[in-house]
Structures are given as C-alpha cells and as structure tokens.
C-alpha cells in the first residue's frame, strides 16, 4: 500500500502528560503499516521510554517551559524509523551501564535503568547520538514482520 517514503513529524512539550499523545500517534502509524498488535505494543513502549528519558533526564526540571521533544517518523515500506530528539543536557551513552550499576538504588525517580534496555529489546535496531549540553537523538527501527505461511 505504501510505496513511497512518508514522513510524519510530531512535536510535544517535554511534559509527562503528552507522552500518551506520542503513543497514540505511533499506534495509528504502525497500524497503517500493518504491524501486528504485538509489534505495535512494542513500538509504543520504546517510543514512550525515549520520551520519558527526554522529560526526566534531558531537561533540567527547574528551567521552566519551552522544552520540547521532536519526534520524526519515517515510513519506508516495511520499515518504521523513529527519531526522538531533545535539546537537553545530553549524556554519554557508553557510560550509562557502569554508572547505573553503582547508583541504581540511589535514584528517587521512577525508572529502573530499564528504559534503554526496553528500547534495545523491543526494537530491531537503535542508535543514540548525544552531545553534552546540546541534546540527544534516539533513533530506533522496527520492521513489519513477514508473515510466514503455515
């Protein structure tokens, strides 16, 4: 049905109440691409995790409004690519695992350090580009599963 590449862009304030809007949008997009119900759930979670991270980690909570999350959906045949961009503090993706092992229990924020793990397990590919002081781009890819005839 979809032969050309389609591009959808969603921009939301970096605030917890709008993560559901990202989730609803992607569920519509994924359904149109004929992802299975199970895959759609996976994609919803992965996208929510990326948004949650932008809200909780990227933007200093005391700095007030104007912080937004830009989400780009690129629909190319059976491939859905999602890019989640923030312009927050940035981080070193390589350093996350070791850091987590030391202070995981000290966190009083919601989250287990599971966010990136979920993205990794639920999507077919992912990549993080982050620059300290500039922001973060999380890219993730999911392919529509080929239905194997019984």
């Amino acid at each position: 049905m979809m032969t050309e590449t389609a591009h959808i862009h969603l921009s939301i304030p970096a605030s917890s109440e709008f993560v559901v809007v990202a989730r609803l949008s992607v569920s519509g997009i994924a359904a149109r691409m004929n992802f299975t119900v199970e895959d759609i759930e996976d994609i919803k979670i992965a996208l929510s995790e990326a948004c949650t991270n932008a809200i909780q980690h990227a933007y200093d909570q005391h700095e007030g409004g104007g912080k937004k999350i830009d989400i780009h959906f690129i629909l190319a045949g059976d491939k859905l690519e999602i890019e989640v961009r923030d312009t927050g503090v940035g981080f070193n993706p390589q350093g996350v695992i070791s850091k987590k092992q030391t202070d995981a229990s000290a966190s009083d924020q919601f989250g287990l350090g599971l966010g990136l793990t979920f993205i990794k397990s639920l999507m077919d590919a992912y990549d993080i580009q982050s620059e300290l002081g500039k922001g973060t781009v999380v890219k993730m890819v999911k392919y529509v599963s080929q239905i194997i005839p019984a």
């Binding site: 609803l24 995790e49 599971l114």
Partner: protein, 114 residues
C-alpha cells in the same frame, strides 16, 4: 484513552489494588501514592491486579520494584495479576519477575496458592 484509577480492596487480609488505565510517567505517581498508603499499614504482601491495565512501561515497573523491595524487608511479595500477553512481556523483559514479584492469572489463583 481511559481514565487512570486505582481501587483499594482487601482479600483474605491481603491488600488488593485494582488498577485501570495506562501506567506511564504521568500516571505512575498516582500508583506510587496508592501503594504507599497501603504499605503504611503493617502487612506482608500486596496484590496488584493489573488485568485492566492497557499499557505499562519501565516507569510502572520502577514503582512496582520499589514496592517489592519495601515488602521484601518483611518477607513480603508483590502478587501481580495479569493475563494480557503484552503486559506480561514487559514483566519478563524487566527481570523483575520471580524475585519478589510473582505473576498470577487471577486473584483466585493467588488465594488458592497461599
């Protein structure tokens, strides 16, 4: 999008929280509060009925994990009821299951097993 609700009940002297809606960054503070109120009273276990939860991610598992750790101090556990495959999957992925969080198919099957 359904409204998020947490109802408090008690079955065989074990507190039960029946959750409905989506558990994400926005709603997990409400879940956390509800659990906090229940855990103020001494007791060893908590039943968390998630059968009407249509969505959960790491934020919800974070809340449940905190509760499980608190309960573990008194040898208590979180008994979570969930039958939906996509909710179960999140528990499996999280590695939370097994330790202090046990999944059941219904509240009845918990009662029978205790």
């Amino acid at each position: 999008m359904t409204v998020f609700t947490v109802l408090h009940d008690e079955v065989n002297q074990i507190p039960v929280l029946r959750v409905e809606g989506e558990i994400d960054l926005h709603t997990c503070p409400a879940l956390s509060n509800a659990i906090g109120q229940v855990l103020e009273k001494p007791g060893s276990h908590l039943i968390l009925n998630l059968d009407k939860v249509s969505y959960i991610d790491s934020t919800g598992l974070g809340v449940i994990s905190v509760a499980a750790r608190q309960l573990a101090d008194h040898d208590g556990k979180v008994y979570a009821v969930c039958t939906q495959a996509h909710i179960k999957k999140v528990f499996e992925l999280s590695g939370l299951q097994g330790k202090n969080v046990v999944l059941y198919d219904s509240e009845l099957s918990i009662s029978k097993s205790l």
